[in-house]
């Protein structure tokens, strides 16, 4: 894993010189081992920054908040915000740029490379620890994880603890940055969509019952939506009212808003919600895995988005999050797009 001393220096400088409004990074979480988002306004707080395999969050999500905050302010501070991004997160920045949701000058990107590693899967770690409390998670010189617990250290191979998405990572170092910490190490990737095989090999009936069982647990807390940097719509089909309402919105506009999906957490409504979300993320999801990680009921949401990522690649040769100049997946086409399914 990258050492981030140089990044800290830069962060201090940026804040001291007032070049950025604040820096979104990782700090120590309250439970002692898992990192948490940290917002740094003063150069003296930069030393609170951490970089370790528990920096799982995709902080790009907070650029959406920043944009909303700016929209509410009469005279917004137009300076960029500094943001720490991993390879996957940087692809989210690319998508936001591609969609012109943000401008390149809105962000100062502090990239960190995962190099040969990635981030941990907290569920996997919990299973490994079997009730013991982690204090620290590190990577040793042999690229193995070292977990410090109350009664000693446990070592394990990277694959055992890495998040599933890291095992299928397409960008282990940032694709866009102003400053990069760590090496641009290329990593071989045999099966970019290997994790889907298990579900894909099921029969239609079994796939249906798999998803029913998974999605029946959904309580519609919308943590998946909330954690996602791409879910920035002001108007979402599941909300009771349109958040973009202003004093000028007419009664008819409000009255005629269609309730596509009921609020009740029922099988059919949950399924439709997650289908809508999945299709809306087609060609936009960069597989940061935040929806799945945030889900308190452990619904494997990543498998929905990953499937469409795979189809986009196989059907249209489309790969998201590498080129801000590329048009969005569904706002472009090629003459030779497959149409064998059309009668």
């Amino acid at each position: 894993m990258a050492k981030i001393e140089d990044l800290k220096e830069e962060a201090k400088k940026l804040l001291r010189e007032g070049k950025v409004k604040y820096i979104i990074g990782y700090g120590a979480g309250s439970n002692g081992w898992l990192a948490a988002p940290l917002f740094i306004k003063k150069p003296e707080d930069v030393d609170k920054l951490v970089w370790d395999p528990t920096c799982v969050h995709n902080l790009v999500r907070f650029l959406v908040d920043e944009k909303r905050r700016k929209a509410r302010q009469k005279q917004p501070d137009k300076r960029p915000v500094g943001i720490m991004v991993k390879g996957c997160d940087s692809r989210a920045v690319v998508v936001l740029l591609q969609e012109k949701f943000i401008d390149r000058s809105d962000v100062y990107i502090l990239g960190v490379s995962c190099e040969k590693m990635g981030v941990v899967d907290d569920a996997k770690l919990a299973k490994k620890l079997a009730g013991k409390k982690a204090k620290r998670v590190e990577v040793d010189a042999q690229d193995r994880f070292v977990v410090t617990t109350e009664d000693g250290k446990i070592e394990m191979a990277a694959e055992e603890l890495l998040a599933e998405r890291c095992l299928e990572c397409k960008a282990n170092f940032p694709v866009i940055y102003d400053l990069l910490s760590g090496e641009k190490t290329k990593r071989p990737l045999d099966k970019p969509f290997g994790s889907l095989e298990k579900i894909e090999s099921l029969s239609a009936a079994d796939r249906s019952s798999f998803w029913k069982e998974q999605l029946d647990r959904c309580i519609r807390c919308y943590a998946c939506r909330s954690a996602c940097p791409m879910c920035y719509c002001d108007e979402c089909v599941v909300d009771s009212i349109n958040l973009a309402v202003t004093a000028d919105t007419t009664a008819d506009e409000k009255a005629q808003r269609i309730h596509w999906i009921q609020r009740s957490a029922e099988s059919s409504e949950n399924l439709v919600y997650h289908l809508v979300r999945a299709i809306h993320l087609a060609g936009r999801c960069i597989d940061c895995g935040e929806c799945e990680r945030a889900c308190p009921l452990d619904i494997p949401l990543r498998f929905l988005n990953k499937k469409l990522e795979k189809e986009a690649k196989e059907l249209f040769g489309y790969e998201v999050g590498f080129d801000p100049a590329l048009p969005a997946l569904i706002s472009c086409f090629r003459d030779e797009d497959p149409q064998d399914f059309i009668r």
């Binding site: 579900i199 894909e200 239609a204 009936a205 079994d206 796939r207 249906s208 019952s209 798999f210 998803w211 029913k212 089909v237 596509w260 999906i261 009921q262 029922e266 059919s268 409504e269 399924l271 439709v272 289908l275 809508v276 999945a278 299709i279 087609a282 929905l304 499937k307 469409l308 189809e311 986009a312 059907l315 249209f316 997946l329 569904i330 706002s331 472009c332 086409f333 003459d335 797009d337 497959p338 149409q339 399914f341 059309i342 009668r343």
Partner: protein, 140 residues
């Protein structure tokens, strides 16, 4: 499945082609099954995936989106966008276990009344053995 089961199909038909095609079938007194609820849209490219999910959610046993042949779109490119987007919808629906026959797309021009009737006939024939669609349907 019960003999008398009649599937319900929601068909989103492009105003410039398929909808006219269905009209042609009608005025030419061609026979086709009455299982279709046609919804005229301005372009196949205007059919949001949400419409399709919602149709299934509200009780459709099959959904058809029909637009102009490639090159014939009134808005130049709408059907190309539809082709790409709805391909993804189809894959997604199959992936969550919906029978692949339930969602269809077709190119039907204003002159193709016969093709339209054939598509509906085939669609109904394929849907019948599947029985009612319950996977996305609310209160099945």
């Amino acid at each position: 499945m019960a003999e008398d089961y009649e599937p319900r199909i929601v068909a989103f038909l492009c105003k410039w082609c398929s909808s006219a095609g269905s009209d042609l079938a009608g005025v030419s007194r061609m026979e086709y099954p009455p299982n279709v609820v046609p919804i005229q849209v301005m372009c196949s490219g205007s059919v949001s995936p949400l419409y399709i999910f919602s149709a299934f959610n509200k009780g459709a046993d099959g959904v058809l989106v029909s637009g102009c042949h490639p090159g014939d779109c009134h808005y130049i490119k709408g059907n190309y966008y539809a082709r790409r987007r709805l391909n993804l919808v189809k894959k997604l629906l199959e992936y969550v276990g919906l029978e692949t026959q339930r969602f269809q797309m077709s190119w039907v021009s204003a002159a193709e009344g016969t093709k339209f009737t054939q598509i509906i006939k085939d669609f109904v024939k394929e849907l019948k053995p599947l029985g009612p669609q319950t996977k996305l349907r609310r209160n099945p």
